[in-house]
Amino acid sequence: MITEAVLHNHDVRGHDVHSEDHHEHHHHETFISKYVFSMDHKMIAKQFLITGMVWAIVGGLMSVLFRLQLGYPNESFPWLEDLLGKWWAEKGHITPQAYYALVTTHGTVLVFFVLTAGLSGTFANFLIPLQIGARDMASPFMNMLSYWFFFLAGVVMMCSIFVENGPFSGGWTAYPPLSALGDASPGSKTGMDLWLTSMSLFIISSLLGGLNYIATVLNMRTKGMSMTRLPLTIWALFFTAVLGVLSFPVLLSGCVLLIFDRNFGTSFYLSDLFVNGVGALPNEGGSAILFQHLFWFLGHPEVYIILLPAMGMVSEILSVNSRKPIFGYMAMVGSLFAIAILAFLVWAHHMFVTGLNPFLGSVFVLLTLLIAVPSAIKVFNWLTTLWKGSIRFTPAMMFAIGFVSLFISGGLTGIWLGNSALDIHLHDTYFVVAHFHIVMGVASMFGMFAGIYHWFPKMYGKYLNNTLGYIHFWATIVGAYLIFWPMHYQGLAGMPRRYYDFSNWESFKDSASINAFLSTIAMIVFMVQLLFLFNFFYSIFKGRKVTTKNPWESNTLEWTTPINPGHGNWPGEIPEVHRWAYDYGKDGKEFIPQDVPLGHDESQH
């Protein structure tokens, strides 16, 4: 398969740009094999990206709907009922069942479909072969399967929105017994069966993808590309894949046990239950907490699965656009490694108030706060990378800087939450919502945007419109802080998360009064994202054409391919690598690409 791709470069657009690869000619490639069941990692990356974007719109729209309820609980929006029907919006009010269905689906979709598949699916696929100098993935076929399992997971999730009792509504963490008992919550009926099916398909997709990424990075690097010459993007994507491969199976086992409890009368998670309207259930001896251990054993690594690719891309983009080497390359790799290890050792910090043994809790406090050390190293290394640089504010660079700002803000509140005595007070309040939206949600989104702005020219041979990019950046960072910063205060006022309405709570209604403001900003920020989407799709077709192979004057290998590389990436030989990826500003030279041999008089660093 790969050799075939090498021999026959058959990218259509490659021809009208008249790049250097004229010598190969057409070959029976149908629409289906090129755009649908493609085995070209670049096409699969685009499939992941665009599917992720569709899910981002769906998930974003859901948040607009439930923010409408939170922000304007007393107002009626008759058009909502016209649009969505009575189940969702009776008399123009989002119903509680709809609210919880929306919150749950929003969380699931954004965490798994957008920030896992959409982020590492896109960039691992796109960048790994291009940056390590490979023709394609180790197994292009598995890679294709990975996308289609993801697609199927999406189809099932989408179906769940339309079933009789609505989609699953017990929160993205799906704790049983709530998630196990259809009688306890209508959302735990068919909706939950579909949720579990969808998640299982998704996990298969992640595993297929992850194994492939690992195999590719380990085995298919071009000549001279030792591990320590890898760009940090690849290191990050590599660790991400390792995290996924080791932790997703645990979630799968958790889901399988849940399926058993739901459908086959087992009692893994169930014990001593009396459900209103049903009576006492037969189950005895199970542990509801067991699921939480299984879930968070994936769940915590999962948050780093989401974050690491963003960290990797940001490291690369900061260095390229500061025209300066990344500071402390080995420390950056080392801290990624430390984070990857620690990610497996802190899961119970989500469970401090479940009745966990206090001594065990204290061990998790220690390990959790330990993560702040590699995080701090990364932040200071990024700052030092900017120091005395020569910064070009491309839109990608803006988002990378924004990422660092958000990572600092959200990482610092992690130190509050990781300290169990404080977490007792803050757990399951809006403080947690603020923490993870800033550090994971928005920060990783920024990493993703940075990646899109930076590699769009490589993906489509066109530029995105810069001005729209700047507007997108400024509106989003200002908006994100305006939405999530005040939420810390709501959390400190004790406001619990996952509340449909606060008006009956003497303790919270005062702090809830700023919700109208937050909701309004959320809607504006959502619209700004539409502007970005417009820019994206418009530019694919009508964007300014890229006329130089290396528009950002970058060192990494992807910029040595033709402007529109075909399947196989390099028309001729794969370039050999002679140096690391960060020789910017060395010996007075602007930049020295990785495939340039060492000069005689070149200084050692």
Binding site: W79, L270, G286, G328, G355, S390, H425, R498, D510, L530
Partner: protein, 367 residues
């Protein structure tokens, strides 16, 4: 407002949004053409200047925003609106302030550096970058310094953690609290000071919401085997109440937490305490209230103030309405309240009938 007005209004809003989009798009397109005419370098120079300036502006306005947000929202937080209402809460708040101070300094320091560097080191003609790839000294510095501060925080934190999760003092008032969709049931041990046994198969939503074993009964286990439950006399004087529990100012109160159906969470934000209610696995927490409800009304300047128990774990569609109340009173007031409470047993089995019901399984009761 009529339906057509409504639709017109919707269209108007959409039209305005579309128009704004169009204008933004046209401007962006035009500036792209200008950029092409000027050449890549020249236009980069200009956007660098603008964005570099905006980075600085964002930092200054952002820090001002942080200050302003704090000014208007901090008074609404638990720390400043009445303050902590338990001894434990005092420690939590002081730890919170220490953490805020440390992370706050780091926050300002790093954010200022970030945006200042972005502004200061924007590309300028003829300026060379400083090829600076690595420095062990610096890297050690920012490994060790954060580690030291984190150690301080861990020490404070674990001391509090172990104190909060320690055994409740012997004189603690014991209250059992059980979550169910969507409310709370409280039980006091009654005169004998002992909670009677309960079993979930005994639950009867109307009369025996907790499943107290207050008569001999045979229940069927899931494997079909009958199981004999023996009347537990300790249940007979247990007090069962819903909605509001009473606690005493200055006396530790220990909650024994259960759930009847799904996982709930006893959230006591004023006391800075919280613990999940897990079916099949009792949990506990304890704290010492330091203000009565009435005192808190004054402290918060809110005549409607209540110590609300919020369910803090997603438990179904009524989660947001799952409220309980802790009424903190003085010992004297508590005694008056307690004297008025009747054991649940007596209301379900009024004394005249009690013996009859009791003998249903007399044979078992005797052995």
């Amino acid at each position: 407002m009529g339906a057509t007005d409504y639709i017109m209004q919707m269209f108007l809003v959409l039209a305005v949004i579309a128009l704004i989009f169009l204008v933004i798009f046209q401007i962006s397109k035009a500036s792209e053409y200008v950029g092409v005419l000027k050449g890549a370098k020249e236009s980069r120079k200009q956007t660098n200047k603008v964005n570099g300036f905006l980075m600085l502006a964002f930092m200054v306005i952002g820090l001002f925003g942080v200050w302003y947000c704090n000014k208007i929202l901090a008074p609404k937080t638990q720390m400043f609106n009445g303050g902590p209402a338990s001894e434990q809460g005092l420690k939590v708040d002081s730890m919170l302030m220490t953490t805020l101070a440390i992370t706050g300094v780091v926050f300002v320091f790093t954010q200022v550096l970030l945006f200042w560097f972005a502004f200061k080191y924007q590309e300028k003609e003829g300026k060379k970058v400083y090829f600076f790839a690595h420095s062990t000294k610096l890297e050690l510095l920012w490994t060790v310094v954060p580690a030291i501060f984190l150690t301080v925080l861990v020490v404070i934190g674990l001391r509090n953690w172990f104190s909060f999760t320690s055994e409740a003092p012997a004189n603690a008032l014991q209250v059992e609290i059980t979550g169910k969709q969507f409310g709370w049931i409280f039980r006091y041990a009654g005169k004998d000071g002992e909670f009677g046994k309960k079993y979930y198969r005994m639950i009867d939503a109307a009369d025996n919401s907790l499943g107290l074993i207050w008569k001999d009964t045979i229940v069927n286990r899931s494997n079909g085997e009958p199981q004999q439950l023996k009347d537990d006399k300790y249940t007979h004087d247990d007090i069962v109440v819903e909605q509001t529990m009473y606690a005493i100012k200055g006396r530790p109160v220990k909650l024994i937490i259960n759930s009847r159906d799904v996982i709930h969470d006893v959230g006591l934000t004023h006391f800075r305490m919280k613990m999940d209610a897990v079916p099949g696995m009792p949990t506990t927490l304890w704290f010492t209230p330091i203000y009565t409800t009435n005192e808190m009304k004054e402290r918060t300047n809110n005549p409607n103030f209540q110590y609300e128990i919020s369910c803090d774990q997603m438990c179904g569609n009524g989660h947001y309405s799952m409220k309980g109340v802790v009424e903190v009173v003085t010992q004297a007031e508590y005694d008056v309240w307690a004297a008025k409470q009747k054991p649940k047993y007596l209301s379900v089995f009024p004394p005249a009938e009690a013996p009859k019901t009791d003998t249903t399984k007399a044979g078992i009761a005797k052995n």
